[in-house]
C-alpha cells in the first residue's frame, strides 16, 4: 500500500499549516506525528531525519523533505497545482512569496514582546490594506477569472484563501473593501476538499494561543 505522507511538527499551525492546507485541498490524506517535548525533537535530529536540524519535515514518496517552500513546491507540482508552464509558475511563485511575507508577520506575532504587539499589529494591518490585498485584488480584476493564474485552481488560490482566513482572525474588517478577494474566499472554501477541511474534526489546527507558544518554547528551546 502506498504510504500516506507523514508530517512531523508540533500540534499547532506554525510553518506546517500551509502544507496541511495544500495536501487537504489536493484531497490527499496524511498522517501527523506531533512533537510533544524537546526530547522528541532531539530524537528526530539524532536519527538523522532532519537535514538542517529543523522541522517541518514531511515523509513523502520515500523522502524526508524539509524546508517548507521545498515541501510546498513538491506537493504543488505532484498534484498539478503549479500552473501549466514556466511562466505560470513564475506568477504563482511571485504571488505566493508575497503571501508568505504577510503570513510570516502574522505567524510571528504571538512571539513578540507585549509592548511591541500593538505596533506590529498596526504594521500588519497597514501592509494588508495597502500592499498585499490591493495587489491580489488587482490580479483578479485584471482577468476577471475565478482563479489567480491560468483560469485554473493552483496553490496560489489555496494559499491566498488560507491567508485570508488568517487575516480575518486578526481583523475581519481588513477584507471589506476587496470584493473580489471575498468572492475568491467563498468560491475556494466551497471546493469539496477544502469545505471538508474547514469543518471541525479535520487536521486543520486552531489559532495559536499562549499555551501553544509555551509548548513551542519548550520544544524548540527559545
Amino acid at each position: 500500500m502506498a504510504g500516506k505522507p507523514k508530517l512531523h511538527y508540533f500540534n499547532a499551525r506554525g510553518r506546517m499549516e500551509p502544507i496541511r492546507w495544500l495536501l487537504a485541498a489536493a484531497g490527499v490524506e496524511f498522517e501527523e506525528q506531533f512533537l510533544e517535548s524537546a526530547e522528541d525533537l532531539e530524537k528526530l535530529k539524532n536519527d538523522g531525519y532532519l537535514m538542517f536540524q529543523q522541522v517541518p519535515m514531511v515523509e513523502i514518496d520515500g523522502m524526508k523533505l524539509v524546508q517548507s517552500r521545498a515541501i510546498l513546491n513538491y506537493i504543488a507540482s505532484k498534484y498539478d497545482l503549479y500552473g501549466k508552464d514556466l511562466k505560470e509558475r513564475a506568477l504563482i511563485d511571485m504571488y505566493t512569496e508575497g503571501m508568505a511575507d504577510l503570513y510570516e508577520m502574522i505567524l510571528l506575532l504571538p512571539l513578540c514582546r507585549p509592548e511591541e504587539k500593538d505596533t506590529k499589529i498596526a504594521l500588519i494591518q497597514e501592509k494588508t490594506k495597502n500592499r498585499y490585498f490591493p495587489a491580489f485584488e488587482k490580479v483578479l480584476k485584471s482577468h476577471e477569472q475565478d482563479y489567480l493564474v491560468g483560469n485554473k485552481l493552483s496553490r496560489a488560490d489555496i494559499q491566498l484563501v488560507e491567508l485570508l482566513y488568517f487575516v480575518e482572525e486578526l481583523d475581519p474588517s481588513l477584507i471589506s473593501s476587496f470584493p473580489l478577494l471575498q468572492a475568491l474566499k467563498t468560491r475556494i472554501s466551497n471546493l469539496p476538499t477544502l469545505k471538508k477541511f474547514l469543518q471541525p474534526g479535520s487536521p486543520r489546527k486552531p489559532p495559536t494561543n499562549a499555551k501553544s507558544v509555551e509548548e513551542a518554547r519548550k520544544i524548540f528551546k527559545f
Binding site: M51, K78, L86, A90, M94
Partner: protein, 334 residues
Amino acid sequence: MLPRLISNSWAQGVFLAHPPNVLLLQAKATAPGLDMTFGTPAAFQAEDHGDCSLRQLKPHSLSQAMAPPDASKAPTELQCRMLCASWYFSCSLEAHIVVFGERVKENSEPGIMAAKPKLYYFHGRGRMESIRWLLAAAGVEFEEEFLETREQYEKLQKDGCLLFGQVPLVEVDGMMLTQTRAILSYLAAKFNFYGKDLKERVRIDMYVDGTLDLMAMIMLAPFQRPEEKQETLASVIQKAKARYFPVFEKILKDHGEDFLVGNKFSWADIQMLEAILMVEELNASVLSDFPLLKAFKTRISNIPTIKKFLQPGSQRKPPPDAHYVDLVSNILQF
C-alpha cells in the same frame, strides 16, 4: 481612451510568423530618455493598460515560452491593446524575437537586439546578488538599473512595476518579476539548472533554501545595531560550521560526484559557492574541516562562466559598506 494603433496588425503578423523554436517575443518600446517601465508620461498614468501593472500580472500574451506556439490563434484585441498602449508614447519600436542563444532579425524593424534581462536594484549585493550569480553562471548578459534615490524607487512603485512595491525587480521574457525566489526559480528552470525531474528539483529546493537562509542572515547583519550585528555574524559562522557545511560535505561524500545533485551542474552548486565565498569573507578558515567542500569550491570556481564572474570588472557586487547601508536605509526609509 486607448489609442488605436497599426500595431494590431503588426502584432498579429509577428505572432503568426514565429517559428516553432522561438522562445519568446518581447516588444520593447524605446525612445530617447523614455523607458516604458520607468518613465510613463503623466497623461497615461491613470490608464491600467500601458504601464507595468498589467504586463507583470499577465504573462506576455504573445510569448508562448515553453508551450508550442499555435500559429492559428491570433492574439485578442485586448492583448494587442496591452502591447500597443505601452508603445504609444515611444518614438521608435524594437521588436525582439529571441531564439535561445541566437539572435533572429525581425524583418520589419531595423537594428534588432536580443533582449537582455534587466535588473532593478541598489548598487550592491542584497537580495539581487543570487540572481546575478545565476545569470552569470548561465552565461547570460544582463543590464542593471541602479536605484540611487527615493524618487526613483517611488517612480517604480507608481508605475505599477512592483507587484508588492518592492525590489528586486527583474524584467525578463516580457514579465516584470519580483520576489527573489520566484525570479531565481524561473531562471533556474529556464537555464536547465533545476534538475531533470521532480525528485531532483525538490533536493535542489531543499539545498538552496538552506543556503538562502544562511545568506539572508549575512545580508541583514549590516543593517543591525553593532551588538546585534556581532551576534548575528558569530551565529552565521557557528551555523555554517555546525548546521549547513556538514550537510553538504556529507552529500558530496555519499555520492562522490562533482556536483550536489544529479551529477550535473545546477542552481544548488551556484548557491553553494556563493554562500561559501560569503562566509569566507567573514572567516577565512571556515572550510578547514571540509575538504570536499574545498575541492568543490575550486572546481565550481573554475567553470568558465563562473570564473569570468569572479574576476574584477564583472557585475558581481562587493560586500556592503557603510555607504551602501545608508543608501538603502534612505531609499527604503527605515
